[in-house]
Symmetry: C2
Subunit: 220 residues, 2 copies
């Protein structure tokens, strides 16, 4: 134990050591709700494997997915006493779960933990702001292209252009502010053009990343 905070460790190491001591593993089945909008915010999570959708609902059933949490991502930090989002497992998912109170206390004592929390929040804000541009100012084709590029940049492992899609078409549509039909049509078009390949509904191969980047902002 006395080795935990020696100067031989880097900041990320010290953060992991500090957080490891208070985290516990939680499992969630596909389509289970992890927490709902309005629930008391008691925990912060980190995805180990699987995938989680973070969304907001309107009374009439319309849904906007704010973010997908994939392996390595934290979620649930948007705390304001109560969660502002609903979190649902898109597939069977493993998470590490931290008590809010303990995390807060740890953050007060440990500068590295504080920096980690702060950095997560900053990243989420950055992501939300980029997402705003997509929803406010881009066409269906641009949205889908941007989404695929995001996944490409975020992927942790595996073949370089092979993407895993834990989310359904409906999830993608609700993330991009489109209908499921429009998402399908754009994917089909990209496939016809040889930009992507769709082996099955939960995976996708990018054949021409450059063409995707072009599709992301212009298209003539």
């Amino acid at each position: 134990m006395s080795v935990a905070f020696t100067s031989t460790q880097s900041a990320p190491d010290r953060t992991r050591a500090a957080l490891g001591s208070i985290g516990s593993v939680s499992l969630f089945d596909r389509n289970n709700t992890i927490f709902a909008e309005g629930d008391e915010a008691e925990h912060v999570y980190k995805v180990v494997s699987g995938g989680v959708r973070l969304c907001k609902m309107l009374q009439d059933g319309r849904r906007q997915i704010v973010e997908f949490a994939l392996p390595g991502d934290y979620f649930g930090i948007d705390w304001l006493e109560r969660h502002a989002l609903t979190a649902e497992a898109m597939v069977d998912t493993t998470t590490v779960c931290y008590g809010r109170g303990r995390l807060t206390r740890l953050g007060d004592e440990n500068r590295d933990v504080r920096a980690e929390i702060f950095s997560t929040l900053r990243h989420d804000l950055w992501a939300a702001q980029n997402h705003l541009v997509i929803l406010g100012r881009q066409s269906a084709r641009e949205r889908v292209a941007a989404f695929l590029l995001q996944l490409l940049e975020r992927r942790r492992e595996g073949a370089k252009n092979k993407l895993d899609l834990p989310m359904t078409r409906q999830d993608i549509a609700d993330y991009l502010g489109l209908t499921i039909e429009t998402v399908c049509r754009v994917l089909t078009a990209l496939k016809r053009e040889g930009v992507i390949d769709i082996p099955d509904r939960h995976s996708l191969t990018v054949r021409n990343a450059e063409a995707l980047e072009d599709a992301c902002t212009a298209e003539d």
Copy 2:
């Protein structure tokens, strides 16, 4: 000076005292750029009077306004070494300006300042997430209604239903992901219906807040 941190002060008071010591006043003329996306993030600002638009641009000129900073709001905290947004004064604007380095150091020492920064970031994230729902899932009418209600809730002073609009119609359009023409048409429609009144282009009176709230989610 010794009185600055006695227990007779509340946390907000202590925060103000600590921040007051490192803030300086800055003035910006209408349409001046305060900082641009990609600039080194050296300062954090707080609006005293006027109004600032925070936006992102696409190469082809499309623009998405992420947030309006009105009196009392902080902006520029989204720092990641470099600003992710462009900040422009919509009207002649007065701000208090804090050096990033000094603010960071102050935050390390002072728990209240830290909480204030954290809280600002959390608020920005919360606002961006609500904005996502508007851009992703709401109609033109719903967007405009939601925007007006936001302003109504944020207004600091003045007659209860009288709104100040420091932004142009184009700014509103770029905030809501619409065109200027659509914003105009919706405003005209709301006026015809007696929901609002438009004395001049930079002010607006809400005659029927309940109707606005209805227009915000449904419409039948």
